[in-house]
């Protein structure tokens, strides 16, 4: 497939001068982000900072007002369909149909992603999220945590190289958070490229190796998580967002 316009083969995700406006409100103000293959980046920021907007733009749910996004070298303006094949998305919305069973939901998304050996793969991901025993129950009967676990299975069906996670821990219990941690690793020990947004500084530090702080649609801080502990991150977050955590 043609990757016309790809600026770099080094980065899995590359965002250039990205802006998004809703009417007169600028949600993102010309941000640049570059993420290498296997890198995991956490984005912190107060409500309204633009975290969810950024994830929606990367997931191709929205179109940017200006700027460019490259996923695996594919320009989202020209080759969004190809780019989507390598993306898995987990948000606080589960994208599951409550009137379908867990199996039917996974079967539907398998068809949409052209997943081979569908039945085998569904049981594989259901085992990963410990949902095999409930596969033939309607998802409308599941607790919030179970729905979120199934949502993790949905996002992993096509074994994506990139995972976009928008506050995925909402409603998750400790068991489900452990499952999520496993999901962040790619199968066959390859590392997924991850972009995670969360309000939990602790979780972000634990799961990712780089962090960004977004405030009023701008990246106001960027660093490796290796050099920071929770106390210093809390202080940095407070200074850069002028908000208590």
């Amino acid at each position: 497939m043609d990757k016309i316009g790809s600026p770099s083969e080094v980065y899995t995700i590359e965002v250039k001068r990205l802006t998004k406006s809703f009417g007169t409100h600028l949600a993102l103000r010309g941000i640049d982000v570059a993420v290498k293959q296997g890198e995991s980046v956490v984005i912190f920021g107060p409500n309204g900072a633009g975290k969810t907007t950024l994830i929606k733009l990367l997931a191709t749910i929205m179109n940017p007002s200006s700027g460019e996004i490259f996923i695996n070298g594919f320009n989202l303006k020209k080759n969004a369909e190809q780019a989507r094949r390598s993306i898995g998305v987990i948000t606080h919305q589960t994208f599951l149909y409550s009137n379908l069973t867990a199996y039917e939901n996974l079967q539907f998304y398998s068809k949409m992603y052209d997943v081979p050996d569908t039945k085998e793969r569904i049981y594989q991901v259901a085992t990963m999220v410990e949902m095999v025993s409930r596969l033939h129950d309607r998802t409308g009967t599941f607790s919030r945590g179970m729905q979120q676990r199934l949502s993790i299975a949905r996002a992993l069906l096509h074994n994506p190289a990139i995972l976009l996670l928008d506050e995925p821990e909402t409603g998750l219990d400790q068991q489900a958070i452990s499952i999520l941690r496993v999901a962040l690793q790619m199968e066959e020990n390859e590392k997924r490229t991850i972009i995670l947004t969360t309000h939990s500084l602790e979780r972000g530090l634990e799961l990712c190796n780089r962090l960004l702080i977004l405030n009023h649609g701008r990246i106001v801080y960027e660093n490796s998580t290796k050099t920071l502990d929770l106390a210093s991150l809390t202080e940095i977050y407070h200074q850069n967002t002028k908000a208590k955590v």
């Binding site: 179109n63 094949r85 948000t91 149909y97 009137n99 379908l100 998304y109 949409m112």
Partner: protein, 223 residues
Amino acid sequence: MKFWNKVFAIVWKDAISEMRTREIIFSVLIFTILVVVTFNFAFGASAETMKLVAPGILWVTFTFAGILALNRSFIPEIEEGCLGGLMICPVSREVIYVGKMLGSLFFMLIIEIIALPVFALLFNLSVLSPQLITITFLATVGFVAVGTLFSALAVNTKAREMVLPILFLPVVVPIIISAVKASGQALSGEPWGELSSWLAVLGAFDAIFIVISFWIFPFIIEE
């Protein structure tokens, strides 16, 4: 081939969901039968009057029943937060449009298959002729082609139940007029030849509306 596999995956998903809830078919069918029965009482038993007003009653009923059904086309996707799930799938936006359109067409045809015999019984008219069935099918195709587009447009607005008919009815008027005129001729027992001009108009509007909606849908769904 992949295009159609994914289109039918969407139709299959909508059909299973509807089969379990019967939200669209039950509510729209009850509405349809109530309207037909009300008009039957309103216009009395004169065969002449019935023949005159029947096409209008039939298409007023199907138009408003269709609006009810089309309103539900995208609402479950929004209510369950699943529209995002469809949009992140590696399929073109056109796949989503055709899938949702065929799903609505399937539900509308089921409603019409049940409603037409009821209409025939109450109005004592022969509505189960091949001519009327063809007219109904062609008009319904055009109807859902535009309706699916406007349903996607209306679903993100606050007053979506009101927005859909306001946007949709003016556009779909040519189809309704053609369907009423053609149905009038079919109910009077006119042969195929006499109907051909109206059938051609219906066919042309179907083609135009499908092509335009297919082309515009990606822009509507993304903003």
